[in-house]
């Protein structure tokens, strides 16, 4: 019956809307991810937050249809299969839309000149995203079945969307977050533990919802009625158990991972991942004037800039994908920031901010106009270059580099 369920699914009329959402998600946001397979796929996974609630609404419509035919279903011999097939038909259409989007992203990445194929870890990251879609379909089906009203569909869609937002903002995000990244993902990968826990959690939610919808309706109060509740109760325990494990693993779904980089030039050497190689020379050229200024002032400069390192390595500085992709005016910032440890509380320390502003102002003096609050720039930086000024630069850079270490 799956073929009939697919052919007559309420998801079919919703397909254009689902596809439009996916297209908007890809086209209307910056596509800096086009040079990294993992970032591209991980960022695409975020679309589940948008299409998941819509699929929940479609599934709720199907649940309502089923509830309208409850007498027919209840006198049938396989209510669980009915629930499973109805859920699966909705999900398969949703997954088709998801895969179409994923393939489109793959094409964009290839067209951007990123070599190779998507790594297995990147492809595996779509599984929790698909799991989330499956769970939202199941929850929608359950809502439609229980509410037994045509308004169950919009209520399920809006409800799932609001719940997703709430979980993102204030709840345990691991229960809902399956992707989305605003910055480069070179040097990181998905943690296997939370990903598996997410999959188990979504599977348990699906199982619970399908078992509740497909619970055989024997007479209440009989041993058969109680027995029919046992599988759903077990699934409920599984949902709570997997959710607890997931929350206990913490909010961080990512972990550092070695990345194969290609290095260009010397002093500094610029090491980038395969998708950025053609931009490495330009970025190196943009860094050179600022590094030369620091060298003239007697400040030791990083010998290497690489994409997969955290700031503050002293000998190896980080390089942002934005700089590689043409934001060369940010090269001076990249140089200064490469000295700062992540642990340096610069946001909370006004004196550190003054030093940072002074260094930026000194580095960019006479070259690119930058917007730094004049009042916060030390007076020694404002005048012409003097030995005292150079001594200040040297001392300040040493101070900034030591911060947080």
């Amino acid at each position: 019956m799956i073929r009939t369920a697919l052919r007559r699914s309420a998801a079919l009329p919703a397909l254009p809307v689902l596809l439009a959402i996916v297209a908007a998600h890809i086209a209307l946001r910056p596509r800096l991810w086009a040079h990294e397979w993992f970032w591209a796929i991980y960022q695409f996974n975020f679309v589940t937050i948008l299409i998941g609630p819509l699929l929940a609404g479609v599934a709720a419509w199907e649940g309502w249809r089923c509830s309208a035919a409850a007498d027919l279903l209840d006198t049938g011999a396989q209510p669980r299969r009915v629930a499973a097939v109805t859920w699966l038909a909705t999900l398969l259409w949703g997954l088709l839309v998801f895969v179409v989007g994923l393939v489109s992203v793959g094409i964009i990445v290839r067209v951007a000149g990123t070599p190779g194929a998507p790594p297995l870890a990147a492809l595996a990251s779509v599984l929790p995203a698909m799991g989330l879609l499956a769970a939202e379909c199941a929850v929608g089906l359950l809502i439609g079945w229980w509410v037994r009203h045509v308004l169950a569909a919009p209520a399920a869609a809006v409800g799932c969307f609001l719940l997703s937002l709430w979980l993102y903002v204030s709840g345990p995000t691991v229960l809902i977050e399956v992707g989305g990244a605003s910055g480069s993902m070179i040097g990181v990968s998905v943690r296997v533990g939370p990903a598996l826990a997410q999959l188990a959690y979504f599977a348990a939610v699906v199982l619970l919802a399908v078992l509740l919808v497909g619970r055989p309706r024997p007479w209440s109060g009989t041993p058969a009625a109680l027995a029919s509740l046992a599988p759903a109760a077990t699934a409920g325990v599984l949902v709570l158990g997997t959710a607890s494990i997931l929350v206990a693993q913490g909010p961080n779904r990512l972990q550092p991972a070695p990345e194969a980089l290609v290095c260009v030039g010397t002093a500094p050497q610029v090491c980038v991942s395969a998708g950025y190689v053609r931009y490495a020379a330009g970025a190196r050229a943009a860094l050179l004037p600022y590094l030369s200024r620091l060298t003239e002032a007697g400040v030791p400069v990083p010998a290497k800039f690489a994409q997969d390192v955290n700031p503050g390595g002293l000998t190896v500085g980080p390089i942002e994908s934005t700089l590689l992709l043409g934001r060369v005016d940010g090269a001076g910032f990249a140089v200064i920031n490469s000295y700062l440890s992540k642990k340096c509380p610069i946001d909370q320390d006004p004196s550190l901010q003054t030093e940072w502003n002074g260094m930026i102002s000194w580095l960019y003096a006479g070259s690119v106009p930058i917007s730094v609050d004049d009042a916060s720039i030390p007076s020694i930086v404002r005048g012409p270059q003097t030995p005292a000024q150079l001594a200040w630069v040297k001392a300040t850079m040493a101070h900034l580099a030591a911060c947080g270490r």
Binding site: M1, T75, P216
Partner: protein, 269 residues
């Protein structure tokens, strides 16, 4: 203890005992007399507050017997709002699938069921596009498709226009040749033209149980044509006169084992 069904405080079935065998059994009675509840009891959609239900010796108290009873019965509810987006053939196949019929036999049985209700040429029409009468025939095909030994039809002729009602009755007579058909109705013609046995319910009690002729005889014995008319109209009306007639006719009822609603047909599979 007699068979009793309560809906909250209201008593829907108030102490009946019945054995049902072969042929067409018509349940008659005014609105709220317990006809639908009785059918839903047999369809395993309701549980009695007291007493037992048995279909071919199976009591629907375990998952297995429940499945078996559902496999052996076909139920057409009073208002089967279902799957208007499906095509006629799909809707009947869906019902066959629900009953657990294997795919190999499903296609053939769907065609047979559609043929039985004379809807083969409507196979590709959407359920939502059909008239009430035609849709009723589709629902009958759904109830028939798995070849049940017992067919439970709740007001099957309601909403069907007069012309199609004649066809529909002929159809019911055809399908009842080898199975037990229990149908509820408001219409006296259904009793006259279909019933082999009539059970008149009133306030959840059996007011009459016998043949249609017996029902007429009871009225004649009263020697009062007015009373006879009242009895015939009872199914359509629900005033005090209907109840009075029911009470008079109750003398003709034949109680069996107390508290048992049983379908005793031997070969139901």
């Amino acid at each position: 203890m007699d068979l009793v069904v309560r809906h909250g405080r209201r008593v829907a079935i108030d102490g009946i005992s019945l054995e049902l065998g072969q042929g067409i059994v018509v349940l008659a009675g005014p609105n709220g007399s317990g006809k639908t509840t009785l059918l839903r009891l047999l369809a395993t959609l309701r549980r009695p507050s007291h007493g037992q239900v048995s279909v071919a010796g199976l009591a629907p108290t375990s998952a297995r017997s429940l499945r078996e009873i559902r496999r052996r019965t076909g139920y057409l509810s009073q208002d089967p709002r279902q799957h208007g987006h499906l095509r006629v053939g799909e809707a009947v196949e869906y019902a066959a699938w629900l009953k657990g019929m294997p795919r190999q036999t499903r296609t053939t049985r769907v065609l047979e069921a559609l043929d039985a209700v004379d809807l083969s040429r409507w196979k590709e029409r959407r359920l939502g596009e059909l008239s009430g009468g035609t849709r009723r025939r589709v629902h009958l095909a759904q109830a028939l498709v798995h070849g049940p030994g017992v067919l439970l039809l709740d007001e099957p002729t309601t909403g069907v226009d007069a012309e199609h009602r004649v066809e529909f009755r002929a159809l019911l007579r055809r399908v009842a040749t080898d199975r037990l058909v229990i149908l509820s109705t408001h219409l006296t013609e259904d009793i006259e033209l279909l019933a082999e046995r009539v059970i008149v319910l009133d306030h959840g009690r059996v007011a009459f149980d016998g043949t249609p002729e017996g029902l007429t005889d009871m009225g004649n014995k009263e020697g009062n044509k007015e009373a006879n008319n009242e009895a015939n109209n009872e199914a359509e009306g629900d005033g005090p006169a209907d109840r009075a007639a029911s009470e008079r006719l109750a003398q003709g009822s034949r109680p069996i084992e107390r508290g048992l609603l049983a379908v005793v047909q031997r070969d139901l599979s």
